[in-house]
């Protein structure tokens, strides 16, 4: 047995996914208790309605169950794996929906609306403001690339073609944008 195999056997996340794959009682519930909220928040951010977000959560957990045996802790932590499966599903769904983000709204800049004191909808405010406040502070190209790729599910190649920008430049913009978004949260905390 290799060192990698041995470390896998001792990994509780691998154990959990193996139990999910074997359909052991309580295993998938444990997985949902740990990651259901995360998957829902990711779905809610991307899908156009709450109902579609909830539908996406169901589909993601079906996929997590079906691919449980393939989880390799040497390849990714379980939270990364869950996010990977979730993002792949959401992007595939966006592409099937033909979703496009209107670049005009981004070019005009983003300003948080005034506090809604009548019939407030906390969840709708959170969905929009949390992400857009972060993205609004990015330079133009980074903002456009992150929004089209992350919210629109476009490939970087297609973004590069539409913006008439080298693919390498688009990739760099995405990479820098992710670093800045992460740093923003670190500073705020």
């Amino acid at each position: 047995m290799t060192d990698a195999d041995q470390s896998k056997l001792a990994n509780p996340e691998w154990d959990l996914m193996q139990r999910v794959a074997r359909q052991e009682p309580g295993a998938i519930e444990e997985l949902y208790d740990r990651f259901g909220s995360l998957v829902y928040r990711m779905s809610y951010q991307t899908m156009p309605s709450r109902a579609e977000a909830e539908d996406a959560v169901q589909e993601v957990f079906v996929r997590l169950w079906r691919t449980a045996e393939r989880f390799d802790p040497n390849r990714a932590t379980l939270v990364t794996w869950v996010m990977l499966i979730t993002r792949r599903y959401l992007v595939d769904r966006l592409r099937r929906m033909g979703a496009r983000i209107q670049p005009v709204a981004l070019a005009e800049g983003y300003s948080p609306p005034e506090r809604d004191t009548t019939g407030k909808r906390m969840e709708q405010r959170e969905q929009f403001h949390s992400l857009m406040e972060c993205i609004a502070t990015l330079p133009d190209l980074q903002r456009t690339v992150v929004t089209r790729a992350y919210l629109g599910g476009q490939t970087l190649r297609r973004i590069a073609e539409e913006l008439d920008t080298p693919l390498g430049t688009v990739k760099s913009a995405l990479s820098r944008a992710l670093v800045r978004l992460r740093e923003q949260v670190t500073v705020e905390e």
């Binding site: 009682p25 519930e29 949902y32 990651f35 959560v57 169901q58 932590t77 993002r87």
Partner: protein
Amino acid sequence: MSKSRLTTNELLDLAAEDLLGVLEDAERTAFDESAAAADPVVQEQVRREQSKAAESVQATLPLVIQSPDLKGRVMDRLARESGVVSTTTPSETTPDETPAVVAATALPFSTEAASLEMAWRDLPTRRVNRYWRAASLALAGLSVALGAMLLDSKQTFYNLVDIYTSESQNAYLRMHGLGVPYKQLHMDSGTVSTRFVDVTGGNAVAVLECNEVLGQAYLVVDGLTAGNYELRYVLDDQDDAVVAQHFRFDGSSRAISIELASLPAGGQWQICEQGSDEALLIGRLA
């Protein structure tokens, strides 16, 4: 991009894009195959790149609470997908007990069914007089019925899964003096929301909604491990909490009524495990 193996630089270059799900199909396949075949050092590098990207994504996620019944719907969906019915019959069971075992194994993701099956298999086999068995079952049924009738009505209501209460439920609450329903408080313009942040690096979220005019507050929590917790308010210059209430989280989010008439100022809300001083979530005004 070809489907041949990617170099280390290409793997690291595509790691974040893979996490975001924006690779083209051929790229995705090539990335998966190459990452699986890479040596441990490269795999560790890929894992770190994707963890960084994952942190960035999590930083932008909205603090929204899922519907309390979503977990149940997901479990039901998985049960339908599995659709497995076991044909094995435990040797300890008697013929008239077989249907219970078959029902218990039909839904592998049903924990109640699995518990039933396990309990059933653990029962010792012995001959029991059928009249005594009938009397035992009748007494057991009667005690369950009596227990249900004696359940506290308020607790029964707050165990309801759906926090978006129907009009009949609203009427019931008003009739029994159980206060303003969560739905009404949530929609009221005078309600102040306090949003909690998980300071342990986990994915727990919580929102405390308080309305001084209506004189009530609700706490909605998600992502914590099931157990007993304490909601407390600690002033900046003091160690002791000025407000504290214990609550139990059962693993699925629902609105928990909090006995709070007004919000204090000059401190912070904390959610801790009962008996612990270590804050798991800290709340600040939205």
